[in-house]
């Protein structure tokens, strides 16, 4: 009985918070826009009995998905999102790895403090922190003022409302998700392995490439997925920091939903986004499983 409960609870959770909403979104994506409330048809009306159900299913079609292929806005948005997500994942890795490495090298008594500093930003609202970047990156913002005061530049740089600002925002926001798994992997690394590598003729640098990097691979992969997956559907950061030409699927989704009130097309966009994400999510799960096997 207890075992049943233990298994049942996570599945019930999954059912209630993922599968049912997913089914609803899928259903809306197969419906048509209507001037009604909610703004789509057909609606499932069980009072009509069997006939009602038949009519309901007859009303569903793939028109919205076909529509997505007719306007190149959509696939361009998907492609641009993937590009931005990939680039920001790589940038986050380049920034996060040295930080995680430094944390592991730091004396033991410093580690809790450093860990705290990595997690600290989560204590304030994500929205406020992204807004704060507007103030930093604006033409008259802190960054430009500082650079001009130092004499590095004479004209303010245009960063805000460009893709650069989006990269900065994503790297900043998701950095802890990159640092923590890499830190966990590096912390487990047995120091005598590096000594063994040196003993066998490696320089410090080649020991890093041949031992440290491969042995922290699982952390790198985990961190990259934890950044890539949310970055792909990111809406707030491109909305607040990106320009009018920053094309991301999260923004398209928002516009379809709230500006156009076209729920069915918005749902279709969401379903395809999910389909794109399924591949990295499965790869991520496989990585986690492999790690568990290697440790087990």
């Amino acid at each position: 009985m207890r075992r049943f409960l233990l298994i049942f609870i996570p599945y019930a959770w999954l059912l209630a918070l993922f599968l049912i909403p997913f089914a609803i979104v899928l259903k809306i994506s197969l419906s048509d826009v209507a001037l009604a409330r909610p703004p789509y048809a057909p609606q499932l009306d069980l009072s009509q009995g069997w006939e009602g159900l038949r009519a309901f299913f007859a009303g569903l079609d793939f028109d919205n998905f076909t529509f997505l292929t007719t306007d190149d806005l959509y696939w361009k948005a998907y492609l641009s999102s993937v590009k931005i997500a990939v680039i920001s994942t790589v940038l986050t890795l380049l920034v996060g790895y040295p930080i995680a490495y430094g944390m592991v090298q730091a004396p033991d008594r410093w580690r809790p403090t450093l860990m705290m500093l990595v997690i600290l930003p989560f204590w304030t609202s994500f929205l406020i922190r992204v807004y704060a970047w507007k103030g930093i990156l604006a033409n008259e913002g802190l960054l430009n003022q500082a650079l001009m005061w130092l004499g590095i530049i004479s004209e303010p740089l245009t960063i805000l409302n460009t893709n650069t600002a989006v990269y900065i925002g994503i790297v900043y926001t998701y950095l802890p998700f990159m640092i923590l798994p890499i830190y966990a992997a590096l912390e487990k690394l047995d120091g005598s392995l590096l000594e063994a590598a040196e003993d066998l003729g490696c320089s410090r640098l080649s020991a890093f490439w041949l031992v440290t990097i491969p042995l922290s691979r699982q952390g790198i992969v985990a961190g990259s997925f934890l950044v890539f997956i949310p970055a792909l559907g990111e809406f707030v950061i491109p909305e607040l920091l990106g320009g009018s030409r920053t094309l991301m699927i999260g923004k398209v989704l928002y516009e379809e939903f709230f500006s156009n009130r076209d729920w069915p097309v918005a749902s279709a966009v969401a379903i395809i986004l999910l389909a794109i994400l399924v591949i990295p999510i499965i790869l991520f799960q496989r990585n986690e499983q492999k790690q568990r096997e290697a440790e087990g």
Partner: protein, 377 residues
């Protein structure tokens, strides 16, 4: 040790012409204010199998790590082939170390672990392959070449570590408790394997162990250490038969230690050790002052046990308190009339039922004048 004419006994340390491969001169290593190695001076010669023996925490690993280059001495100089090695980084030393934890690379196969050092030397593919095959054969690991370290047993892992450290044919191989994780039988096998490898390759081995039997089996010389100092360096036989201190006598093998005061005499000294007991007579080279306190150390197997008073220079009466039967031998714990306990060992040449001495028997223990050693400290 004058065996002139006999086939050359391997003992370069007795040859004043011989140049040591390694030379520690006044080496001290401190961690903060803790002294791990205290003013160490010793020589290790080429082709030696040099064992460092001592209790846990006495500085054996630290000494190895200084040789490998992972620690540098706080004071003093370490020379390898006459060169101070302080400025040479670990990856440039002709020294390889087999780590106490093996430190095998978990992401590489057995083959790639062994090839690791060879590939760093920029040798050709065929050359690397040939050498790895040779090492696999030597350590009998051919069948496991493709496995990852977590897919093989502890004993096999230990052999991989050995093969990996041998692959580059170092001048000096450091083995830090290489056999600690093995069960007794496998350990004994591997000890002989090690000696065999050493003979074949001519490498100089320094082995750390806290197992005295292991040191006795494999070593050409043993250094007995305590708290960062070397107490005695000698061949296994000398260490056993002629320890220079109570510490060494007690550390190696089983021993009876009797405290007393010396009366010098011609040939042998007399040691007064208990009221109402005759003094122990012992031959010694040590120059002892009359009345000086000393310890007399004697191995149990050099003490005989009889029902009748034996015709020996030293004979004392006592009672059997305990008998430890070990199969091939038995150890008798005898309480002498003065209350001291003495262990005597006898080979069980006869079957159990035929042996005359048993618990509570009144017996005599005896030994010759040369059976034990007189120790000043």
């Amino acid at each position: 040790m004058s065996q002139t004419g006999a086939p050359a006994v391997f003992s370069p340390w007795t040859d004043p012409e011989a140049k040591p491969l390694i030379r520690f001169r006044g080496v001290t290593k401190r961690f903060g204010d803790f002294t791990a190695i205290d003013n160490l001076t010793l020589d290790i010669y080429e082709r030696e199998f040099y064992a460092l023996l001592g209790p846990s925490g006495c500085g054996k690993t630290t000494m190895m790590r200084m040789l490998a280059g992972f620690e540098s001495p706080t004071e003093g100089v370490i020379e390898l082939s006459g060169q101070d090695i302080a400025p040479v980084p670990p990856n440039k030393r002709a020294v390889n170390m087999m780590f106490q934890s093996y430190a095998l690379f978990p992401h590489l196969s057995v083959y790639d672990n062994i090839a690791f050092g060879l590939r760093r030397e920029g040798r050709g593919k065929d050359q690397v392959h040939g050498r790895v095959q040779e090492m696999l054969r030597l350590t009998r690991l051919e069948r496991f070449a493709a496995r990852k370290p977590h897919q093989i047993s502890g004993g096999q892992r230990q052999r991989v570590a050995l093969a990996r450290s041998l692959a580059k044919a170092p001048k000096l191989l450091l083995l830090d408790e290489p056999l600690g994780a093995l069960d007794r039988k496998l350990r004994e096998e591997t000890q002989f394997e090690l000696m065999d490898i050493q003979e074949k390759t001519g490498t100089t081995f320094v082995i750390v162990t806290h197992d005295q039997e292991e040191a006795m089996t494999v070593a050409s010389r043993i250094a007995v250490m305590d708290e960062g100092r070397v107490i005695q360096v000698a061949t296994p036989a000398e260490i056993y038969e002629a320890p220079n201190s109570v510490y060494v006598a007690d550390f190696i093998g089983d021993v009876n230690i009797i405290e007393g005061r010396v009366t010098p005499g011609e040939g042998a000294v007399s040691i007064d050790w208990a009221e109402g007991e005759p003094p122990i007579r012992a031959v010694t080279d040590a120059q002892l002052a009359p009345g000086q306190s000393c310890h007399f150390a004697i191995r149990p197997e050099k003490v005989t046990i009889d029902r009748e008073r034996p015709d020996r220079p030293n004979a004392f009466q006592g009672k059997v308190i305990d008998i430890a039967y070990l199969g091939n031998i038995s150890t008798y714990h005898v309480r002498l009339s003065g209350g001291q306990m003495v262990k005597a060992q006898m080979v069980n040449a006869r079957r159990l039922a035929n042996r005359p001495i048993t618990w509570e028997d009144e017996v005599w223990v005896g030994f010759s004048e040369t059976a034990g050693v007189v120790l000043e400290r």
